[in-house]
Amino acid sequence: MPGGGSNIAMREPEIWEDIHSNPYIKIEDVSKFHGETNILKEISFSVYKGELFSLLGQSGCGKTTLLRILAGLDAPTSGKVIIDGVDVTNWPSYKRPVNMVFQSYALFPHMTVYQNIAFGLRQEGLIKAAIDKRIKEILALVQLSGFEEKKTTQLSGGQKQRVALARSLAKLPKLLLLDEPLAALDKKLREQTQFELVNIQERIGITFILVTHDQEEAMTISTRMAVMDDGRIKQIGAPHDVYEFPHSRYVAEFIGNINMFEGIVVEQELDYVLVEVPDLDCWCYAAHTGVVPLGTSVNLAIRPEKVMISTVKPAYPRNWTKGVVKEIAYLGSISVFYVQLKTGKIMTAFTTNLLRLSDRNFKWEDVVYLFWRAENSVVLTS
């Protein structure tokens, strides 16, 4: 990681980077077969105490199954689930120190908000005064004070979501699982709730594992995220690491937008490789994430927001290309330029709309130069 190495040494290491920290939740070689279908393929990873960990993937990638295995609602075909040092693989759901917020919220429709939250607390044998106190605190935390006697059927979607969260949090679990917790909310409410969720998590310090298909959501709220595809974990890392340094073509294309060009390694240096990219009609310096031998065919990936546009030809020979502006999509805060290269391939570039459209100095069918910094492009071998 060019430029990044020194930074990591400077700051305090994150809990998952510290070799001395013990994993709180450990998943070891978990596989799951449903009949003949292999839903999970030997998944292993660790989550540390106080993390807000996201499992991100398209529907059918196995992320919900993994969550259900953690909750004890499904049993893995093989592998182990260890929570706080205890192997809970064969524990039934009602014994585990784990609680789940269901996608449908699964509130009990015949009970009030109070009864819903008290349901789980009564199982612990708490006395009524203690239950009352806990419910009062937890409802204050999710900003639903005074809703005790409301029927769950009278609540709005956002309120239901909070009651579901409160019901699970009230048990003070070691691990809280959230299955697409915000999917049923509309966009505005979703964004607002994202931050509330993070706030609540930070305040009470319970470890969260969250399943989502919404990459923005995962990027916004998680400490780390795991990108899943076809029953496997493709990459685990902090959102900015996964975004900036994807390990594979799949992750690069799944997270955000990216320009992908095929090329061949023609030179290898200590921190950089030089890639010949026919589409770009130039040799490009690029950061690399592993050892790439000479002559390997690789993919060069450049995020559109890292691409700069100019009508002036850059003075240096590498890392730029020329093309014709084919489309301009004005999205309010940013504009997307679709630039056709010599070979016919389209390269996209985002620019912030600092100027109004009419003041732009390049327009449709203009010839422009696209350039980017070497550390902003990534070489992908798989």
Binding site: G72, L73, S93, Y94, F102, Q103, S168, I328, A329
Partner: protein, 325 residues
């Protein structure tokens, strides 16, 4: 300056188009009126009218004519009408222990049958939803098959099984479990057995349909919150299936309280139930007014729990055992 928008922007056009689209024309008023009218006419013709006739007979007096009751109104001359109203029939229902015994017997029989049906019916319905859908369809078909075979035939089958020289007795004799055949038939027990056997599907289907629609994640949530399977059953499954239980109970209770065929065939000569009393009064004693009074009271007994439970179902607030999300 001309900006060509990429294709995904044209979606907005579609949205505005669909917003501008004219709402579908309302159905014709005539159609609505007919729709509303038809069930009302049906009920008036085939429920209210007969009911009024029965009620009219029940407040008349018994005479030995054809028909065997006195008309309520008899015109004397141009200016005067004689009206004969009698509540004697209703008073007799209370005074005569023959009727009150029949009422108590029938209510007890119907209640016990309902409770037994509820226990077995819930068990069967609950078992059904845990079976894979292929086998489940076959089982559901078999349950409804018992509906399609003749009611009389099924009762006769029980007679064959349980009679003095029936299959059960001969088997018990053959294996020397008993020395003399047992008289099974001819008591309230066999009547109850017949009712449970015949009306069980009435209980199974409403409960099954509620359980099938029930949100599985509610049960999973209960387990997740630390509730053991038995607790989950009593605190989640059972309360959520209340609407199905109510309608099943009403169906079984109301059909079995006035039941005539089962007590007649499986009961003894002294088995006194409302259905039999009705039959005896109507056809043996030709006392139409008394029989009508019994019929009216039976109807109220059936309607009353219906009203109470309907309110209960309404109060439990559209639970329906499903979440709309």
């Amino acid at each position: 300056m001309k900006i060509k928008l990429p294709s995904f922007f044209s979606k907005e056009n579609d949205i505005t188009k669909s917003l501008l689209k004219v709402q579908p024309v309302n159905r014709s008023t005539l159609y609505n009126v007919l729709c509303a009218l038809f069930p009302n006419i049906w009920l008036i013709l085939f429920f209210l009218c007969p009911l009024i006739i029965i009620f009219k007979i029940s407040i008349s007096t018994e005479v030995y004519t054809i028909p065997p009751f006195k008309e309520l109104f008899s015109i004397i001359d141009k200016y005067s009408v004689n009206v004969y109203l009698s509540i004697k029939n209703y008073m007799e229902l209370i005074a005569d222990s023959y009727y009150s015994t029949a009422f108590i017997n029938s209510i007890l029989l119907a209640s016990i049958s309902t409770v037994l049906c509820l226990i077995f019916g819930f068990f069967i319905a609950h078992a059904l939803i845990s079976i894979k859908s292929g086998a489940r369809t076959i089982l559901l078909l078999l349950i409804s098959l018992s509906f399609w075979t003749s009611f009389l035939l099924r009762i006769y089958a029980w007679i064959n099984l349980l009679s003095f020289h029936g299959i059960v007795n001969s088997l018990l004799l053959k294996f020397h479990i008993i020395d003399n055949p047992i008289r099974f038939i001819g008591n309230y027990g066999t009547v109850c057995l017949g009712m449970v056997f015949c009306y069980l599907p009435f209980m199974i289907f409403p409960i099954y349909s509620i359980l099938e629609k029930m949100d599985v994640s509610c049960l999973e949530a209960a387990a997740d919150l630390g509730s053991r399977p038995t607790q989950t059953f009593w605190r989640i499954t059972f309360p959520l299936s209340m609407p199905g239980i109510y309608s099943g109970c009403i169906l079984v209770f109301s059909t079995s309280i006035g039941e005539f065929v089962i007590p007649e065939l499986l009961g003894g000569p002294d088995t006194l139930t409302l259905g039999r009393v009705l039959w005896i009064e109507f056809f043996n004693n030709l006392n139409w007014p008394a029989a009508s009074a019994v019929a009216i009271v039976v109807m109220f007994i059936i309607i009353l729990p219906g009203f109470i439970f309907q309110k209960r179902i309404a109060l439990s607030g559209g639970i329906e055992g499903v979440q709309t999300t």
